[in-house]
Every structure is written in structure tokens, then in C-alpha cells.
């Protein structure tokens, strides 16, 4: 199978280049990550992140034939040859398919992604009805792979000011949690021309999410809450 892979090692390359690989696959090689492991057996200098190989750790996000996705759950049989692989767009490249995710995590941390509840905790669990718990479905499952934020033009232009779809999905995850008490502060923090309102509902994030989550819907709900509290 044929691949064209973005290669760049700042230690020796002046500029990036695409390199071609033709690799013989084993019948058990099912996913793109399997093929990348094969390529690395031939050329140990190819650098990428990978860990769980089942789509839950979020390490091996990359741009695959023009679309962001996880290599470990992208079937080889679904890919057009030569398969073109690039690092996630919009973030600085450290090397080959590895990008610097500092800005992405900074935005995630900026939404205070933790439960805020100042009441002294009860002896046992805080109670939450199944319906209240259901509000968190489609939110808590995010794996922080960055496929969404790095497919978003608003995040490309303002990665330092716009929280981006991944961070906003998590902001809403806590707003939606019946146990969290900080909704007003969370909304105040996002009421800003950039942090939230750079989202123009282009919906690339929804298309890119390998876990089928919907950041645009979550962002819509945050906007709705802001409108509701202003009237």
C-alpha cells in the first residue's frame, strides 16, 4: 500500500517534505496505525504518538487524506491511495506527525475543567437522577485528541483567544452537571468576543470528532444560556 507522509526533523531538515512509502501489509493489518507501525519497522525515524490503539487515549490524531482522525480506528480499506498523512493543522510541528499541543491544552485548562461545588461533601455520594446524569452523555466522553479544534478555522486564526470546540465542549460538560455550582462564573468567563463568540457554526468539529460528539450543539447551548440570563 502506498503512503505519502509529512516528514520534518528540525535537528537536520531545513524544511518539511513529503516522503513516499510503499509497504507490504500483513493480512492482520486492519487500521492505519498498523500500517504506520510497519513503516516504522522499515524506517525507525518516522515519529508519531500512539498508545491505546483502540480510540480511547487520543494520542494518534493526524490529518488523513485531508481530514482529521485517529490512525488507530481508521480502516485501511476505507482509504484512497496514496494515503496522504500530515500533522494536525494549525499547531506548531515538533517533528513529523507530532504537533505541539500546548495551546490546545492551555485552552482546555482555561475553562476550569473540574467540578466546582463548595458545599461540604456528604458522607456518601451526592445524589443525581438518571435524567440529570444523561445530560453529561455526549460531553464527558471527549478524549482530548484535538481533531475538532485543529479542524476549526476560528481556532487556526485565534488559538490564543478562542477556546475552541474541545474546550467549549468541556465547559458545557460542567455547566450541564447538576452537581456543579459555578454556572454564572463559567458563563461570565465565556462572555467575550473571542473565547466563545468566535464560533461561527462552521461545524468542522462535528465532522472531525472520532467519537461522534457534537461540540457545535454544546456551544449552542452555552449561547442559549447566555441569551436566557440576559432577558
Amino acid at each position: 500500500m502506498r503512503f505519502r507522509i509529512f516528514r520534518y526533523d528540525p535537528d537536520k531538515d531545513e524544511k518539511p517534505a513529503m516522503r513516499d512509502y510503499d509497504v507490504a501489509l500483513d493480512p492482520h493489518d486492519r487500521m492505519l496505525l498498523d500500517a504506520l507501525v510497519r513503516i516504522k519497522e522499515q524506517d525507525d525515524s518516522l515519529s508519531l504518538r500512539r498508545s491505546c490503539r483502540e480510540g480511547v487515549c487520543g494520542s494518534d490524531a493526524m490529518n488523513i487524506n485531508g481530514k482529521n482522525g485517529l490512525a488507530c480506528i481508521t480502516k485501511l480499506s476505507d482509504l484512497k491511495e496514496p494515503v496522504e498523512l500530515r500533522p494536525l493543522p494549525g499547531l506548531p510541528v515538533i517533528r513529523d506527525l507530532i504537533v505541539d499541543m500546548t495551546q490546545f491544552f492551555k485552552q482546555y485548562h482555561s475553562v476550569k475543567p473540574y467540578l466546582i461545588n463548595e458545599d461540604p461533601p456528604p458522607e456518601k455520594e451526592r445524589l443525581q437522577s438518571p435524567e440529570e446524569r444523561e445530560e453529561l452523555d455526549g460531553l464527558y466522553e471527549c478524549i482530548l485528541c484535538a481533531c475538532c479544534s485543529t479542524s476549526c478555522p476560528s481556532f487556526w486564526w485565534n488559538p490564543d483567544k478562542f477556546v475552541g470546540p474541545a474546550g467549549l465542549l468541556q465547559a458545557y460538560r460542567f455547566i450541564a452537571d447538576s452537581r456543579d455550582q459555578a454556572t454564572p462564573e463559567r458563563l461570565d468567563d465565556l462572555e467575550d468576543p473571542y473565547r466563545l463568540f468566535r464560533c461561527h457554526s462552521i461545524m468542522n468539529c462535528v465532522d472531525a470528532c472520532p467519537k461522534n460528539l457534537n461540540p457545535t450543539r454544546a456551544i449552542g447551548k452555552i449561547k442559549e444560556l447566555m441569551v436566557r440570563r440576559s432577558v
Binding site: H28, S45, R50, C52, R53, C57, S59, M101, P121, R133
Partner: protein, 591 residues
């Protein structure tokens, strides 16, 4: 080469469940803590845990820590230390409540309490009938727990060293542990992290087998570092084969599927577990189910064109239950087995999943070794400044076979316990011992060897050889001649590991170098496992020998200790006395 140095109160190596729970405790105590991780914390392998956390909350019906304790001791085939087990099961509910207070999105019952599902080997009233003890968040419990713990650490402003790989332990002449050397992957820089206390929470080593549910990063780094520094590894012959890995892919399908009512079929459509475990059937403990499956395949009752897998049926649960309780499984089955479990059964095989052994500790998370020079020469002298928790540690709560859900319980309980031991140790020992001059010597020698190696073998090739050998010689069923040959082979491979070559010489994010350094750890885990397995002439829990079919309590009710130095073994007694409960005496183990 001048190696940079930084000093901390405590260094935590690993940011999975145990490392993050410990880090939280240490940060909140106001200590200066460095948490090192090869990957961003939420990418640690805890993220892949599915089924739940074992704790006797009693939300679904009567439950008691005494029953949880009994199940765990019986599950361990009496090799678990009963003091550590009592400690774990009594702490468990508190830690689950605490996790809930941190914001963990547990599934809920109508009355608002945490939902609990049945799981293998967990029972009511000392083995009578299945109990619902597994606290879960759909089939993504590990993901929910790891993210919750990371989030709580963000709040506590824990200092992370992300994509730093610890390479070696630093010890002084007295043997005290004083930190680690580590490599920053992005720059290739080496640093000594000088610490008054060092905690290993480095996870398992499932990557020594070719068919494993474990992530690429599970390379036994803590075990390799400990073994190279002269510490023994305990009970490494005990490897859990999870009954339901996706055939061919190895990806995990949670036992929660059977907890929710799924069951296994052979090619004739027979629910064969009824023959092997008439009482708990598909919810017998994992070693029992995996052996039954391997027997079915061996005797020609496997399904599929080659008769080499079995079928996990769950369509009768209906799409509603599957989508609510097991959504991740449906996703995995579709992707990795081309099967929609709402309609068709999932092809599964026993797959390496968990390492019961590890770095020997007591139930305080302190590393204990025989005859430590500063100790009283007893079998379990505490090593000052060195702690371990989670899969890399052997407390031992899992003995010869771990019960499902007890791994997450272990991470929480012993992550916290180890941190509390550290806090106490630092209070009682306010000073800081100097680093020895040669603190980075071993690490520098390893890196220099790798940089200068010519005409060496590729890391991928030697790694493959380790995995093939472990899989063929140290599997579900073990044979004396295969084990003896396996020991010889693994020792030969160990020799080849010292001559591997990496072509990539870049300083920047050199993952080829990382894989070579991981291989140094994998080989120690593999050698410890094979040598310990060859020597244990009985069948107990996950260790099943063709020439010694039964458990032999008169000769083998003892823990193995393997030392790298001399590739030799020692043994130490099992703690049969709980903290307060009545001892659970060994008896025949049936389900």
C-alpha cells in the same frame, strides 16, 4: 556530560490512576511534586478500563466488605496478602464516594445513587450468588475516572512533566532511593530529578506478549528500573488472560458484558460455562473462564473457520441496554470485529490483560525487600524513600488472579495510601540526602551504548522475539519442557537486547530511542515472568502447569521474588492474617 538536576519533595513516575490519585494527595498537602509521564496524563492506560470499580456500597442490594474480601482472597487463589486485601476493600467505598465528589460521571439509579453492575467472581454471602458491586460509568469507567482525576489535579495545580520518560532509579551508597533520571522526549535532554521520596506508578508490562489488551506504552518501565537498581520483582509468573479480547485484534471487551447478562457460546451454540462453573457460570473468575475457553478451543469446539475463537452473545440484552450500558463495546465490535453486537455475537479469545505481580510493597505502598541493609534483616524491610502503587506494585491484593474491577480499586486505594506514607515519611525525615556523584552514570552509559552501537539488531525484531517467546512458552496452559526452553530462549534474547541499534540519531522526539529504552524494561519483565513460572511447580490462579495440576499449599503457598542480579529466585510467606477480620483459610476453589 553535565546532567542538569532539579530537586523536589516527591517525584511520581506515571500519571495513570494510581499516579494521579497520589499526586493529588501530595499537591493538596502543599508539597513540591513532579509528576513524570511518557504521555499526556489522560492518555495513560487507565483510560482503557471499561467495566467498573469494585466497592461494597450496597446500592443495589445487601453487600459487605467482608464478602468483597472473601471474593478477593478466593479469587487470588489464596496467594493474596489478607492484611492488604482487608485494607483495600474497607477503603474502597470511601474512595469511590470521594471520586464522585470530584465530579466523576457515574451511572445512576432511580434514587440518585451510583449504579453498580455484577462482575466476575463478586458474590453475596461468601460465594452464594452474584452481587452488583461494580461502580461504573457506562463501559468507559477508566476514561471517566482518569479524566476526573486529571481535572482535580488541574485544580490542585499539580506540576506535570509531560512526555518525560524516567530511565533509572538513583540510589546512594546506603541503598536509599533519591529520585530518578529522566529524558525529555521533545528535546532529548537528560535530567536528574532529586527527590526525598519517589513513587512508581508506572503500570503494567502486557507488551511482553504478542496478544494483549494493553496499550503500546505498557512496557514495564518501573519494573525494569527497579530490577536494574537491585530490587526484586514479586509473583511475576501470574499473568491474567482476560476471557474476552476481540479475536485477532486483542482489543478488550469488558466483563461488564457478561455482568449485564451476556454469555459465551462454543461453535455448537452451547453455553459451555455451565459445565465449568455451575454456580456463577460466565461470571466465574477470569482464570477459570479463560481456561475453559482455551479447553473448548483445544478440544475442537471453537467457532469460526479455524475453530480458534468463541462467541460472546449479547443481542438478547436489546439495543436499549447495549446503547445505555455498553456503548463503547458496540463501537469496538463494529470497528475491530465487523460485528454489530445488537444482532450478532462478538468473536473473542483469552488475551493477556493484567500483571498480578510487580514491585513488592506492603499495604502502605512502601517498597519492602528482604534483608535491606538499613532494615532489621527481616523478609519485608521498608526501603526508605521508595514507594509503588497500581499495576506496577504487588501489595499483594490480587495474588494469583485478580478479580475484575479490583484494578481500579487498587489504583485509588494504594495511590492514596502511598501518598499518605510519603507525607508521613517527609514529616519524620525533614532533611535531604545529597545525590551521589554518579547519579546519572547508568543512564548515560545506556544512552552512550545506544548512540555508538554498530551492526546491531533492530529494536522491532528483538521486541517481536520477546513477544513470540512469551506467548508460545508462557500462555494460558503451561508445560514443563516449554517453560524450560522458554527460560533458555529469554536469556538468549536478553543478550541480544544489549546489542540493539537505532538508526535515528535525532535529539528531537526520537521515538526509536524511546522504544529501545523501553526494550530494556520489557526484557526484565519477560525474564522475571518466565523464570518465576518455570520454577513454580503447582497450578494456582492464572498459573496452570500440565505436570502439576493442582494447587500445592504445603510447598507453594508463598510469594516468588525474582532478582535480576544472578537471575535468581527467593520466596517469602503469604500474609494469611487480616488486619481485624477472621483469616480466610485455603480451601478448594470452585465457582
Amino acid at each position: 556530560m553535565a546532567v542538569a538536576r532539579r530537586s523536589f519533595d516527591a517525584v511520581v513516575v506515571g500519571a495513570g490512576g494510581a499516579g494521579l490519585r497520589a499526586a493529588l494527595q501530595l499537591s493538596e498537602a502543599g508539597l513540591s511534586v513532579a509528576v513524570l509521564s511518557k504521555v499526556f496524563p489522560t492518555r495513560s492506560h487507565t483510560v482503557a478500563a471499561q467495566g467498573g470499580i469494585g466497592a461494597a456500597l450496597g446500592n443495589m442490594g445487601e453487600d459487605s466488605w467482608l464478602w468483597h474480601m472473601y471474593d478477593t482472597v478466593k479469587g487470588s487463589d489464596w496467594l493474596g496478602d489478607q492484611d492488604a486485601i482487608e485494607f483495600m476493600v474497607r477503603e474502597a467505598p470511601k474512595l469511590v464516594y470521594e471520586l464522585e465528589h470530584f465530579g466523576m460521571p457515574f451511572d445512576r439509579n432511580e434514587n440518585g445513587t451510583v449504579y453498580q453492575r455484577p462482575f466476575g467472581g463478586h458474590s453475596q454471602n461468601f460465594g452464594e450468588r452474584p452481587v452488583q458491586r461494580s461502580c461504573c460509568a457506562a463501559d468507559r469507567t477508566g476514561h471517566a475516572m482518569l479524566h476526573t482525576l486529571y481535572q482535580r489535579n488541574v485544580r490542585a495545580r499539580t506540576q506535570f512533566f509531560v512526555e518525560w520518560m524516567a530511565l533509572d532509579l538513583v540510589r546512594d551508597a546506603s541503598g536509599q532511593v533519591l529520585g530518578v533520571t529522566a529524558l525529555e522526549m521533545e528535546t532529548g535532554e537528560v535530567m536528574v530529578l532529586h527527590a526525598r521520596a519517589t513513587l512508581f506508578a508506572t503500570g503494567g508490562a502486557g507488551r511482553i506478549f504478542s496478544s494483549t489488551t494493553n496499550a503500546f506504552i505498557c512496557t514495564g518501565d518501573g519494573l525494569g528500573m527497579a530490577a536494574r537498581a537491585g530490587f526484586p520483582l514479586e509473583d511475576m509468573e501470574f499473568w491474567q488472560f482476560h476471557p474476552t479480547g476481540v479475536a485477532g485484534a486483542g482489543v478488550l471487551i469488558t466483563e461488564g458484558v457478561r455482568g449485564e447478562g451476556g454469555y459465551l457460546l462454543n461453535k455448537g451454540g452451547e453455553r459451555f460455562m455451565e459445565r465449568y462453573a455451575p454456580n456463577l457460570k460466565d461470571l466465574a473468575s477470569r482464570d477459570v473462564v479463560s481456561r475453559a475457553m482455551a479447553t473448548e478451543i483445544k478440544e475442537g469446539r471453537g467457532a469460526g473457520p479455524h475453530g480458534d475463537y468463541l462467541l460472546l452473545k449479547l443481542d438478547h440484552l436489546g439495543p436499549e441496554v447495549i446503547d445505555k450500558r455498553l456503548p463503547g463495546i458496540r463501537e469496538i465490535a463494529k470497528k475491530f470485529a465487523d460485528v454489530d453486537p445488537v444482532k450478532d455475537p462478538i468473536p473473542v479469545v483469552p488475551t493477556v490483560h493484567y500483571m498480578m505481580g510487580g514491585i513488592p510493597t506492603n499495604y502502605h505502598g512502601e517498597v519492602v525487600v528482604p534483608g535491606f541493609s538499613n532494615g532489621r534483616g527481616d523478609a519485608e524491610a521498608v526501603v526508605p524513600g521508595f514507594y509503588a502503587a497500581g499495576e506496577c506494585a504487588c501489595a499483594s491484593v490480587h495474588g494469583a488472579n485478580r478479580l475484575g474491577t479490583n484494578s481500579l480499586t487498587d489504583l485509588l486505594v494504594f495511590g492514596k495510601a502511598a501518598a499518605e506514607s510519603i507525607i508521613k515519611f517527609l514529616k519524620e525525615n525533614p532533611g535531604r540526602k545529597d545525590l551521589p556523584k554518579d547519579a546519572a552514570e547508568r543512564t548515560e552509559a545506556r544512552l552512550a551504548r545506544l548512540d555508538g552501537q554498530k551492526n546491531g539488531e533492530s529494536v522491532a525484531e528483538v521486541g517481536m522475539e520477546i513477544r513470540r517467546t512469551m506467548q508460545a512458552h508462557c500462555g494460558v496452559f503451561r508445560f514443563p519442557d516449554m517453560l524450560a526452553k522458554g527460560v533458555k530462549k529469554i536469556r538468549e534474547i536478553a543478550d541480544r537486547v544489549t546489542r540493539t541499534q537505532v538508526k535515528d540519531k535525532s535529539r528531537v522526539f526520537n521515538t526509536a530511542r524511546i522504544e529501545a529504552l523501553e526494550l530494556d524494561n520489557l526484557i526484565e519483565a519477560a525474564r522475571a515472568s518466565m523464570v518465576s513460572a518455570e520454577a513454580r511447580r503447582e497450578s494456582r490462579g492464572a498459573h496452570d502447569r500440565a505436570d502439576h495440576h493442582s494447587r500445592d499449599d504445603s510447598n507453594w503457598l508463598k510469594h516468588t521474588l525474582w532478582y535480576k542480579d544472578g537471575d535468581r529466585l527467593e520466596y517469602k510467606p503469604v500474609h494469611m492474617k487480616p488486619l481485624t477480620a477472621r483469616p480466610i483459610e485455603p480451601k478448594v476453589r470452585t465457582y
